[in-house]
Amino acid sequence: MATNRPAAVTADVSAGASAGRARARWRNAAQFAGFTPAAVLFGLFFLVPLALIVVYSFWRTKDYSLVHDWNLGNYRTFLDTKTYIKTFLKTVVMGVLATTTTIALAMPFCYWLVRYVPKRLQRTLLLLVVLPFWTSYLLRVYSWVAILGDNGALNTILNKLGVTSGGHRYLLYDNPGVYLVLVYLYFPFAVLTLYASLERFDWNLLRAARDLGATPGRALLRVVAPQMRLSIATASIFVFIPILGEYLAPQVVGGTKGVMIGNLIANFFAGFLLPLGSAASVLVALVIVILLVIFRRSLDTGDVYAS
């Protein structure tokens, strides 16, 4: 609320004292003028296309051309095919696992950053966390092949140490590899979100808890954790949803077993099965919408990215 007031006051500045009613109304509309280009961009090139997928999911193709007859065949095919359904569920399970792990790793990390690192270093260290974003996403994924693969860094080191000998591969070309890489990819997202809220946390509350006889552990559990619930939800959403659409990581490190729903969709579209791909996309979008509705309270996090 407090933020609304100055905004309203400026609105008045621009309205000046020159207020005829019609003029004021016009000015009122004018204040939204800045939204117009963005509205066109998002409307035409984000919302309309998403709506299109929904439409397409009810059509079908015959010999690489679209047939516009409305039917549920794509959904039926999708739901009837064991591989698809299994892949879909697997993707959700993978998402949940990777998200929980990411958050579990990010929590103590952020706690350390906020509480044990001097303020002036925090920014730099945070910047270092996002630094990997500035390297090619693809190569970062591929790098894991060079680390975990048969001639990988890990194998080489273990061989040198005499722990193993010969070529070994670790986690690669299977679900665990995908899981590891997903955690690696999304850890910075979780850190950014959690850091933003931990940084704002009133640590006096922790001291108050200590003062009232709570041991450090209980103080964290009883006072910090409950209040982090919202931002944990936010972080989870911001990690989980993109994971649902991942297809490059599984493609590079997943082998035939690590396939996720994103690969299916990418494949359908590559094979011009637009309606089937659309149907799969709609199912993913459905999950996302449900999540967004459930967690709508934890979504206003513009400042996360701003930081």
């Binding site: 100055p6 905004a7 309203a8 400026t10 609105a11 621009s14 009122n28 939204f32 800045g34 939204f35 963005a38 998002f42 090139f45 984000f46 309309v48 296309p49 998403l50 997928i53 350390w112 509480r115 044990y116 270092l128 630094l131 974003f133 500035w134 390297t135 090619s136 693809l138 190569l139 970062r140 591929y142 790098s143 060079a146 680390i147 693969g149 001639n151 990988g152 860094a153 080489t156 690696y184 922790l206 450090p216 959403i237 949803i241 649902l244 659409g245 590079v252 969709i265 990418a266 579209f269 659309s278 996309s281 979008a285 996302i288 979504l299 996090t301 513009g302 400042d303 990215y305 701003a306």
Partner: protein, 280 residues
């Protein structure tokens, strides 16, 4: 506020040590792949893998001759600049009403704006592909890729500029108005100079996001290539350390850009100050 470690605590040092160790471990986790990436760019072996045989700069020497890379680089930069321009203008324009107008459902609008960031790029890519090829009958190419990337990148610009604007003391604008400045003068002399660092940061981020974007671009670029697509093809069709060399250079490049981005504003301030002192 005293830090936690300051609290009288018998195990304080231990906890601090363990947490610090953990923090360092996480940084290792984050940076080992990048280090490996860079290391392999110096490896003599043609195939990407360990152990490192000998160190060489050969892969870097190949770069200037590779037409594919040059093509990809120039189209990446071209697309990147377009996307930066478009998203910075549109995003900055949108940030103003987002922060300042009497928006009824401000948080809903905010969520709408974050959606393109959250929704998997795959969905955006395929849906835009359908729109362009099937509905608008536009041939995929650089321009469609620019549109697609702009959808992805603009939300970041909006959020960054909005954050800056949020911190902007509105009284400054009122003061300017009070001192006789009209709307245009207020923008020109007060608002824009003050949020410029935010806009600059947003533009830099837009540029780096665009240059690294793969998913949407891959769907929309048609016959074109950008660096990530080149890299993807390399990964798909037989990678050599040449790509690592390329990536290492790119990493160096982005770091330089950002270092400049961080260093320039304080520098400008200092120069301005010195000039003011001298002028006196």
């Amino acid at each position: 506020m005293p830090r936690d470690a300051d609290i009288v605590a018998p195990h304080g040092r231990l906890v601090r040590g363990l947490l610090t160790l953990y923090g360092v471990a996480m940084y290792l986790f984050l940076f080992v792949p990048i280090v490996v990436l860079v290391l392999l760019s110096f490896n003599t072996s043609r195939t990407v893998g360990f152990p490192l045989k000998h160190l060489t700069l050969a892969w870097y020497r190949l770069l200037p001759d590779d037409v594919l890379i040059q093509d990809a680089l120039s189209s990446s930069i071209r697309i990147g600049l377009w996307v930066t321009a478009i998203s910075t203008v549109i995003g900055t324009a949108a940030a103003f009403p987002l922060v300042r107008a009497r928006v009824r459902y401000r948080s809903v609008v905010r969520v709408l704006i974050t959606l393109p960031i959250m929704i998997p790029g795959l969905l955006i890519g395929v849906s835009l592909l359908i729109l362009f090829t099937d509905v608008l009958k536009v041939q995929p190419g650089s321009s469609t890729a620019i549109v697609g990337q702009s959808v992805l990148v603009t939300p970041f610009v909006i959020l960054i500029v909005a954050a800056r604007l949020q911190g902007f003391d509105q009284n400054l604008e009122r003061a300017a108005s009070d001192l006789g400045a009209n709307l245009v003068q207020r923008m020109r002399y007060v608002v824009l100079p003050l949020i410029a660092p935010g806009i600059l940061a947003a533009a830099l981020i837009a540029l780096t996001l665009s240059i690294d974007e793969f998913i949407v671009t891959n769907f929309l670029i048609g016959s074109g290539q950008t660096l990530p697509i080149y890299i993807y093809n390399q990964i798909k069709f037989g990678i050599t350390p040449e790509v690592n060399a390329l990536a290492s250079l790119m990493l160096l490049g982005t770091m330089l850009v950002f270092a400049l981005g961080f260093a320039i504003p304080p520098l400008v301030r200092r120069v301005r100050l010195r000039r003011a002192v001298v002028a006196d």
